[in-house]
Amino acid sequence: MKSIIENINKIFDHRVRLGIMSALMVNDYVDFNSLKELLGVTDGNLASHLKSLEKEKYIHIHKEFIGKKPNTKYSSTKLGTLEFKKHINALEQLIKGRL
């Protein structure tokens, strides 16, 4: 049981960060505005959660320009994908264990 708890990742224990990672799991890239709409959060809120995921090296940031407009895209790193999978497994086992 203890190992399950260890696999619950504190970083993902927030609605917005969980949402960001979920979207990045199933897409190669997701841009800032799409994430914003998907999760229904403000620019500042999203930016701060993205920053904390980046600090953990769970996501990559790709800055590019579409014409003159800056467009920032995000993708999950190998580490991020691995950690998120562990987190989901832990969640599932916790639920199974307690039902």
């Binding site: 708890i5 504190k10 609605r15 897409n27 799409s34 998907l38 999760l39 639920i95």
Partner: protein, 221 residues
Amino acid sequence: MESEILINFVFQSTFIMTEKDYLKDISDIKDIMNKSTRFLSLSGMSGILAGIYALIGAFIGHQLLSGYGGYGDGTNLMPLVILEVIILTVAFVIALLSVVTAFILTRKQARKNNEKIWTPVSKQLLLNFLIPMVTGGIFVLLLIYRGYYGLIAPATLIFYGLALVNASKYTFSWVKYLGVMEILLGLLAFVFLGNGLLFWALGFGVLHIVYGALMHFKKEE
């Protein structure tokens, strides 16, 4: 076991959650994975309407053909090629009308669902739909150019089916089954050559109405 978990929770006090929160987390994850990869504002009603247009079109085509048959004694009012062109024009107008209807109703549905119509996902959906469709369109134009009129119905059904299967990854997964049915009808139309209008009525008319209705009423629930 129970107490061990609780103790652990207290130690790692930043994330005291209840079971319900975990369940909610899992359902949120699934929801976001779905929403970020699938465009779900397609309108069932547009399928029903497209089906009705197609049946009307097939009826007009049938009337034209049987009217033509009445002059089968060599005193036909117009050459066969002209008749083919008229029928193809009717088919084209019906297709255009269906696309416009689908676009208007989908935009309406997207507004209702609070979903944008032009997203990376809907762009992927359109691109994946259009690659087989445009290929099929060019192929059919070449068939007409070469005079293979009989192959038009099988080809349109097959390419349309392939387009649906290809696009289904980016929307409701049942679209794939509609696509497979269209492909099968297209192949059958090839086997029973000369019944193009009937297979068009089945594929673009009946199937669209059936799937459109299924989807429309599923959403109502």
